[in-house]
Symmetry: C2
Subunit: 903 residues, 2 copies
Amino acid sequence: MSEKWVYGFDELPAAEAAAGGSWDGLRGLLGGKGANLADMTRIGVPVPPGFTVTTAACNAYLAAGESFPPGLWEEEAAALARLEGQTGKRFGDPANPLLVSCRSGAKFSMPGMMDTVLNIGMNDAVVEGMAKLTGDERFAYDSYRRLIQMFGSVVMGVPDEPFEEVLTAARKKAGVETDSELDAAAWKAVTAEFKEIVRKHAGEEFPQDPITQIRLATEAVFRSWNGKRAFDYRKAAKIAHDLGTAVNICTMVFGNLGNDSATGVAMTRSGATGENQIEGDYLINAQGEDVVAGIRQTKPIELLKEEMPGSWAEFEQVCERLEQHYREMQDVEFTIERGKLWMLQTRDAKRTAQAAVRIAVDMVDEGLITPEQAVLRITPEQVDFFLHPQYDRVQVERAIRAGDRLAIGLNVSPGAAVGQIVLDADRTEQWAKEGRAVIMVRPETKPDDVHGMLAAKGILTSRGGRTSHAALVARQFGKPAVVGVAALEIDLEKRTIRVGERQLVEGDWVSIDGNTGEVFATKLDTVVPDINDPYLSRLLGWADEKRRLQVWANADYPADATRAREYGAQGIGLCRTEHMFFDTQRLPHVQRMILHKQDPEVVAACLDELLPYQRADFDGLFRAMDGLPVIVRLIDPPLHEFLPGQLELALEVAALERDGADPAKIAEKKQLLAAVERLHEANPMLGLRGVRLGIHLAALTRMQVRAIFEAACQCARDGVDVHPEIMIPLAGHWRELEMQQAALEEEGRKVMAEQGIEVAYKFGTMVEIPRAALTADQLARFAQFFSYGTNDLTQTTYAISRDDAEKGFLMEYLERGILAENPFASIDEEGVGKLMAMGVELGRRQRPGMEIGICGEHGGDPKSIDFCHRIGLNYVSCSPFRVPIARLAAAQAALREQGFTAK
Amino acid sequence: MSEKWVYGFDELPAAEAAAGGSWDGLRGLLGGKGANLADMTRIGVPVPPGFTVTTAACNAYLAAGESFPPGLWEEEAAALARLEGQTGKRFGDPANPLLVSCRSGAKFSMPGMMDTVLNIGMNDAVVEGMAKLTGDERFAYDSYRRLIQMFGSVVMGVPDEPFEEVLTAARKKAGVETDSELDAAAWKAVTAEFKEIVRKHAGEEFPQDPITQIRLATEAVFRSWNGKRAFDYRKAAKIAHDLGTAVNICTMVFGNLGNDSATGVAMTRSGATGENQIEGDYLINAQGEDVVAGIRQTKPIELLKEEMPGSWAEFEQVCERLEQHYREMQDVEFTIERGKLWMLQTRDAKRTAQAAVRIAVDMVDEGLITPEQAVLRITPEQVDFFLHPQYDRVQVERAIRAGDRLAIGLNVSPGAAVGQIVLDADRTEQWAKEGRAVIMVRPETKPDDVHGMLAAKGILTSRGGRTSHAALVARQFGKPAVVGVAALEIDLEKRTIRVGERQLVEGDWVSIDGNTGEVFATKLDTVVPDINDPYLSRLLGWADEKRRLQVWANADYPADATRAREYGAQGIGLCRTEHMFFDTQRLPHVQRMILHKQDPEVVAACLDELLPYQRADFDGLFRAMDGLPVIVRLIDPPLHEFLPGQLELALEVAALERDGADPAKIAEKKQLLAAVERLHEANPMLGLRGVRLGIHLAALTRMQVRAIFEAACQCARDGVDVHPEIMIPLAGHWRELEMQQAALEEEGRKVMAEQGIEVAYKFGTMVEIPRAALTADQLARFAQFFSYGTNDLTQTTYAISRDDAEKGFLMEYLERGILAENPFASIDEEGVGKLMAMGVELGRRQRPGMEIGICGEHGGDPKSIDFCHRIGLNYVSCSPFRVPIARLAAAQAALREQGFTAK
């Protein structure tokens, strides 16, 4: 196979052809960084010469048991020779040395997860040559020691600590605070010690041959694809493990050649708010890694305008050019070498949800993208951020007055998070597993900390900026984060943190605000923010125009319904009536009814008590949803749920008996226990509930229907436009529906006759067991609508008891990759989905145009919403907080179906 | 609509045309009795003239709110006029009166369930005329009082008791024992009193007009279709409620005109054994109802040969003619009026299972029917009788020596039944509902007693013969019965029974033997009989030739497998391995393993203990099934099933703590309780079991597979032809199968390598949750066979927890007719069956010719077997005792598919 493994940055057309012509294919082949370097080269952006070794090469290398497949190294060596020609420099030539960087670059950005080696090409001879050429011995040795350190660490597996110890000792010896204060002699000595460290730890010398350096670095980058931290990151970010990484070999440019040199990272717009202005950090006289490592205090990019106005102007132009080209906000790395701007990387920038929305809307206004693209660019999860908790400002003010505001840092990832302080990633993960809320507090974060960051409620660091590792990762995974809190002193040994006089120990509660950067030494309550962001409103407005699916909400109380409506719900898809029975005023009547369910008189008396409550519940709901449909589900859960637990009660009776308690009290408890025992079921999920209960205890559902119709009639009389739809749960056989529906419809008609007013209504059923879907045509003879109860449908189709399994084997399945997805989170399309599609087809065959929706929790899951769109449901119904998300997801489903894409 | 409602017995062609030409249609239109009367008339059998009012007329009458639809009565009146012409007699003419009977006759025989009125046409004038015409005043008044009594009871709703009181008083007054000893004067007086009773109870006079009598009697028969006892009977016998009954009006002939007259009932062969000789009972000088009522002691039919040789010869000829014509054993009613034989009814005879099999086989030998017809004539339930329990003869001999054999009666319905004496039907039903075994003991049974007979284990009566109500019903419903135990004295008031010196009270235990007629005053143990009846063997041999489905058996132990093989099983479709773990020697190891399942060393140690046991189990099974496949299912149930119950344990711990028990003991119990709590699941049916457990506790299934392969290798070395098939339960996703199967197959190969011998094997899965059927194509990539676990598949498809529901709402559903059938008894074809058909189609699409069977309990249910045949399964697997039944049912399914019928 004559595959080409290596492409120069200036060989884009050949790479495109090899990748099948698509941008996605090109990114797959060259990695995101490599593709962008080549692309920037083509559009005239200043990029240092270099080339990319493809992801295919990486995969071939890994597949061959970590050895170069035939031809690969030869091709890379040829590319190196070509690079010498392009730059007019030569590897290992002290008089004119060619130095390169070696960076990983996968298809999807994995910041800091894989390895980089800079300054490759230096050796004992070259360093001397460079000192002469630049006239800066300090720079030359600083560069060389960096290579030895990075190469030692990345390629030769030497730990970081001995290098750091040498640096600390050097600073101490020189009596200085920072590395930049060390002079040439110091660096020369450090270099010698570094080489000794490498020899000692790796058992061999630091290689002097530049070509060997490149070869070994290439291999190290390849191998880093399968490193633990990269693997964990991919798992969390749902990136496929078989993509491989490319390796980018790029001519070195130096930001540390003096005060006319600089290096920095920037985003073309604000990653926090989306405001259209360049945002970033830079350092004068520094190498690139210094900026993202968060070690030196960076300068905000605005200062560059003053410090290097010429470079700034060129940089601004490049940024605009890049946005025009990619039609996306970019995240760039640049270096200014003696006044000359070089772009080292560009990629689509990460941003907060708020920023993403604003940028998408702004770009439509700027004519960069269409509204369809804007809608497709925002992920439903991003909409979710607008619903994230925030702190109640009154409480915040109180905390401030009480002196509980510890500090203010950088607000790099929005949202409010409350938790106990933990000072390392492992313990964070451990505590979180125990169900504790944790705020992970670190001086700075590293890729090794990601498992802790994922487990934490929020992240707090004393160092780092907006583009620090902590900020990037927190934003990507939606964790509230405050970074760069300089006032924060962390003592990792004593497990304490201190701000001024105030000391907290690990385990103390803190509250952080990712929106404001505030840190509180107390446990604050959170509230849900207002969703009426003007940019989001415009975006969702476009979404509403594009979608075919309606979005309804599951709401049991009028307040929920009102909120759902504010969020854009077009109906109530599920009002669970049994929640109402748990109210303390009502539960005694419910329990009495259950204990005497064989006695029609007692049952009737209890129902008489319950009727006014239920009627009032429905009345509020109908008024809140004036003009929109409201689906009320009749009682569903097994009766024992309204009674105390059998085990507790049995132990209580045993205890009372042994204590010689009042016999009357014992008798009463025993009677209750007997009732609980009678109602006990081995598998309540598959037991006496839903329509079965409605048939068994017919008076109860009759009362519920009476309450619905009495409320509806009253509302209608008051001019409210009511659309009650009564839903019978758990039907599995048409005879159940025939019997239950006839009895209930009779009651409804009776109420309307009594009240002298007619309201439009529907009767329908929940499709939540496989048999209902399999015989949907028969059910549709009676049911005027279907609503998929996908929680139960998944439980029965998969034979998985959700509550049990999500604590047990299902988690094991997900962890071990036996199941790729939790079927309770996203609809199992191959199994449950097949039944759903069958139900739609059979139902509408019997009753053309039948109203069919979904009210299981999947109704708020974007992937499931896409599926619901594809099988032709009329609506999805989800929790009020998911309504905006569902509106977007429904629009995206429609747009995708019509062939629209985000780019 | 110009429908014809009435057909003369001599108008068969017209009726046939109206019924669409089929015999089934004709029976539907005229009822079984009417169709046969017309048919007998056509083939020249002596039948008194008469006509049939159709079932359609009945339905029209009932549909019209119990009133004659237009034209019906006019047509019946015309038929009556025609009857006068045919007989030359006239209604109400004292000089030449025409008397008729009015009998119900539905499509399917419902003996005694509906009403009959004899001697219609008599009145105060006719009775005098008849006295003169016959010269027998006693006969005339006896006939008249019978009409008044029957008419009063059936048509006018007068209770029986006052009539019986009058008769008792009359006998007492005359100082005689039986009615036949009463003289004319006595009957005349009784007649007057009967008319008075009618007047008093009905509030009106007994109608004197014969035409009115017929009209009212016709209506009464129509209405009796919806009477409670007819309704209950149809429900029990699964006869549709919308068929309606016909009314047969037939000229009266009299068996009570002196000693040259007689009446009787007979079967053309033995209803008990099937032997080819006429069997029946008759009475000289009696009317027909006297025979079946069981009131007078009848004579066996053989005696007729001596008493009336001429009539006997004619009767024998008629019986043979009828058998030739119907190609079935007949049950006939006849009357001899002054030496002239009249046939009043013929119908297919009821018979014991043994008789049915012998008759079918004999009729093939006699050339009357084909083997296919023979196979289709035997119901699977009849084969079941051959497997019914019988008494151990050793115990019986012991009981006889101990003086516990109370009496010997008529062995009218086979099988052994043991239970407590109950003396009425209501209490029988009550006790049976409470789970008690009851023998219902009655002087005789009546249609009102059927609910008790159905609830009883067996029936014992002191009166009645082989054709008595008790005998017929017991046989039809397969209840062991002994009748006509003359020695038995029943005191309904004191609730005791007595035989000679021995007195038993209600609640005492008795054992009856329907095969021998013996009654024991003790509780005997039953044993299962030998199935090697030569007639049955021939029949099943024919069945085996006709069927496409194989029949396998579910067997966990070698002894079960041996029995299954004797019964004709062609493989083991399900060996449940977990049963083996409950053995007292093994359970401690199992429990220890569960308690320490996180500790691989303890688990391994426990499994080492269990391995030899499992290997020995499989060894025996493979040897028993030499040459045939054996499907071994890996562990299926949730682990908590091997531990004590949570509630019991919690109460025990509480008690120990309060009693201040040994702390070590408490700690031990608490540890166990904690483990039970950890394993507790809200819905274990949908929990950690089957393949989920196999994955979770991989070492356990690995041990099981090792045991299977070690046993198989050892057997193979000994020359046994082993075919192990390993079944993974509860798979729902192909990844489960991929993972589990690979690990297990590896273990199997390892064992074979160790043992140095190869055996053929298969890996497959149980399809028992909806998702497995829905994704059967994916599962079939791994599974080499499927076996439908329809118990669980029904539970999940229907969302019904079997154990809970069969104690609860499912029974309510069946009682209220919401579900026509228990889906755990017969496959729910519309729901579960749809999934099964889908699974077969998808599975074989992926793996052509794939072996697919069923191992749920439905595998032994004839209706489900028919379904399994239709969807193309390879085999059904059922309990060993159901194997012969399944062999027949499978053959019937194949024959039905090919268009064969029983007739």
